[in-house]
């Protein structure tokens, strides 16, 4: 499912980033790439906040829509 649909507090693993050119690299350079486990801190309408080991990223809704994730228990 797209990251944009994940509820706050939930942990998910990134499956695929369907970014345009450069986005995958940009996210990767900040530590977010397929395979890592992240947590959604806040998801209100509009941009959302995700966290990985304490590093927080603000992501636009459109961006979050193109990141596919699956839940981890």
């Amino acid at each position: 499912m797209p990251l944009s649909m994940v509820r706050p507090g939930q942990r998910v693993r990134i499956e695929e980033i369907r970014g345009g050119r450069g986005l995958i690299g940009k996210l990767a350079s900040m530590g977010f790439y397929p395979g890592v486990e992240i947590r959604v801190v806040s998801n209100r309408p509009g941009p959302l906040i995700v966290s990985r080991d304490g590093v927080k990223l603000g992501l636009g809704y459109g961006m979050a829509h193109r990141i596919l994730v699956y839940p981890v228990s």
């Binding site: 507090g9 695929e16 050119r21 450069g22 927080k56 603000g58």
Partner: protein, 671 residues
């Protein structure tokens, strides 16, 4: 002989992610003054420091904070170009050791480039508190580079770092390579054989080309090379079944996560937990509370700026008045020429002084912004404002430059350097002057006080609001003409909440305020002298009278200003002077009508009506960026966009002033 000892000169670069403590390392290495900040724009110019170690003189260049060597923003391009072209003797990479894997990504990029790297594991105190152990000798062995632990804000490990730099600088780096699997490796080799780019390591060039780095491809400029690259890319994507960029990223991180796993040990089982910072985030960016909290913060900031700033500004104002008087009577006392006393007191002291009056307000605003930035709130504010900024066809990251614009447009324009998309950057710059900077406030205070004394606050507020609304409209129009396409996606790091340090906050405030001061010292100084000549010539004409050159120039514009309700030469001259700096408008009106600022209210009541006063204020808000802002726009974007910024604001300002006046006359029977 000691003096004969040869001093070896070395240049090294300091690189690292934003928020890795790089600036603190720089400060404690060189004793240089620079601040620790979260918001980009920190390293606006190339910062250099020096230290000497035995017989070595080391120049340290502080690069902007970057995540990788793929040039996504101007900051990253600056860093990358510096490393590629200047080839420093060594590169110290400062990493946040408590976040090793992510930070090492940049390290591997530098190693692939063939840089001579020293790894500085900074923030070791945080690592120890977290109960982590890092095996530095293992890191050092695998990466083939020296690794030093530091706690920069306590100075721990800095001496060791300096020694290591001296030891290895100038040495050739060990060759380092990440193995990208057979498929990719064979294509790297194919591209390597087909493409050469003098001065760059061929393997690095091949990897960048396969990753789709547009800038490198442009630099290669060889159609044959391009087709080889495209062919290899297509072949690989077919093999892998997914895109190449992901493939490179995954292989790099496979290497890194293995390395981190082998070289770190957690002593305590600290699971990532819902901590304090998350709770604060939930409140600050809450869908209902986020915007009210933001507005309350802004209200507090502006209260601070204006209540504390006003008495300070008055103090500076009276000092400048006294100083001008003292200089002119001093010159008359020694029978100096009259023109000299006029040039000094009317021209230079009066002109530059009227700009300096705003220094307290500007410094206080930048102080407040520095506190908001250092605490981590500013990034959240940008985040909360993301939706609003979409109305401008921009996203949350453009918000900080806009906010800075309310203090002074120059730092606002310079702060756009962190935006990844060139379109976003230029668009943000173009509309920045519509944010009503503090220099425009005295014009509103004078006119609103004279004509709308009962609702002065409301009238002034309406002008600020109009600026914002116009920015939305203008941005949308420009977006649809020049910058078609989707809004660049928002990706921004939200730094951890921290207690701001007094030193850090003050240094940051000073850096931005000094941009404003430098403009008072250079551009405005020259402009003031030029205008003084125009106001004094031809010989015999009274200073700034209708017969002076500037008076004649002002008269030229009267027919144009007539439909806006202020078609007299004084208004024309005041607006001309205002191009120097908007606050000069008030002082000019004072000079032209031959009254002190206190008597100005009654004079303008005689010349303006409430309607034409409002039209004049709107004109003053929009009509043109000041000279210093124009110069900054030129430096950041080139002549073409500067021409557009000047052109659209002149036309729009005039059009709105005329529209408001004519509507008032026609529909409300006002004059």
């Amino acid at each position: 002989m000691d003096v004969q000892k040869k001093i070896k000169k070395t240049m090294i670069a300091l690189a690292g992610n934003p928020n890795s403590g790089k600036t603190t390392v720089f400060n404690s290495m060189t004793g240089g003054r620079q601040h620790v900040g979260n918001w980009p724009g920190v390293t606006v110019e190339k910062k250099e420091g020096k230290f000497t170690q035995n017989t070595h003189e080391i120049t340290v260049v502080d690069l902007p904070g970057i995540y990788s060597l793929t040039a996504y923003s101007i900051d990253e391009r600056i860093a990358r170009d510096f490393l590629l072209r200047e080839k420093p003797d060594a590169v110290v990479v400062v990493v946040d050791a408590s976040n090793l894997e992510r930070n090492l990504y940049l390290v591997t990029q530098l190693l692939e480039l063939g840089s001579n790297v020293v790894l500085d594991l900074n923030m070791m105190d945080v690592v120890r508190n977290k109960g982590l152990e890092i095996d530095t000798s293992k890191l050092s062995a695998v990466l083939g580079i020296p690794v030093i632990e530091t706690v920069a804000h306590q100075g721990e490990g800095i001496e060791k770092l300096k020694e290591t730099i001296v030891e290895i600088s100038g040495e050739k780096a060990d060759s380092f390579r990440i193995d990208y699997d057979q498929d990719i490796e064979s294509e790297i080799e194919a591209v390597q054989n087909a493409v050469t780019l003098p001065g760059y390591p061929s393997r690095w060039v091949a990897i960048k080309l396969l990753e789709g780095d547009a800038e490198i491809l442009e630099r290669v400029a060889d159609s044959n090379a391009e087709s080889v690259v495209l062919e290899s890319q297509a072949k690989l994507e077919r093999h892998l079944g997914y895109d190449l960029e992901t493939a490179f990223v995954e292989r790099r991180y496979a290497f890194l996560s293995g390395l981190v796993k082998e070289s770190t040990r957690k002593r305590l089982g600290l699971a990532e937990r819902l901590d304090m910072s998350d709770r604060i985030d939930r409140i600050l960016v809450n869908r209902y509370l986020g915007i009210p909290i933001f507005l309350a913060m802004m209200w507090l900031v502006f209260q601070l700026v204006f209540t504390l700033g006003a008495p300070l500004a008055d103090g500076i104002d009276s000092f400048i008045g006294w100083f001008g008087e003292a200089v002119s009577s001093g010159i008359e006392g020694v029978k100096g020429p009259k023109w000299l006393s006029s040039l000094l007191s009317d021209g230079i002291i009066g002109g530059v002084g009227s700009v300096l009056v705003f220094l307290p307000n500007i410094m206080l605003l930048f102080l407040a912004i520095a506190i908001l930035e250092a605490s981590g709130y500013m990034a959240r504010a940008a985040f909360v404002m993301d939706r609003f900024m979409h109305a401008l066809g921009l996203h949350g990251k453009s918000f900080i430059p806009m906010l800075l614009g309310f203090g002074c447009n120059i730092p606002g324009i310079m702060a756009t350097r962190t935006l990844e998309s060139e379109k976003d950057r230029i668009l943000t710059i173009l509309v920045n002057p519509l944010m009503s900077c503090s220099a425009r406030l005295p014009i509103y205070v004078l006119f609103a006080g004279a004509f709308f004394s009962k609702s002065q606050g409301l009238v002034i507020f309406s002008l600020y609001l109009m600026g914002i609304v116009l920015a939305v409209v203008v941005a949308r129009i420009f977006k649809s003409i020049f910058f078609k396409g989707e809004v660049a996606p928002l990706i921004m790091e939200l730094p951890p909440y921290r207690l701001p340090t007094i030193k850090g906050v003050f240094i940051h405030m000073w850096e931005r305020s000094s941009l404003f001061l430098r403009k008072a010292g250079s551009i405005i100084f020259l402009g003031v002298v030029l205008i003084w000549f125009l106001a004094s010539l031809p010989l015999g004409a009274e200073y700034a009278s209708e017969q002076s050159l500037i008076g004649k120039l002002g008269s030229l514009f009267t027919p144009l200003l007539e439909p806006a309700g202020f078609g007299f030469w004084q208004a024309g001259v005041a607006l001309l002077f205002g191009i120097l700096a908007k606050e000069v408008v008030v002082g000019t009106l004072g000079t032209l009508y031959g009254v002190e600022e206190a008597g100005l209210t009654s004079v303008i009541q005689a010349h303006f009506t409430a309607l034409s006063a409002y039209a004049f204020m709107v004109m003053a808000l929009v009509y043109i960026p000041c000279i210093a802002a124009i110069a900054t726009i030129k430096r950041e974007t080139g002549w073409k966009w500067t021409g557009l910024a000047v052109g659209y604001s002149l036309v729009l300002g005039w059009f709105l002033a005329v529209l408001i006046y004519q509507m008032g006359v026609l529909f409300m029977a006002l004059r």
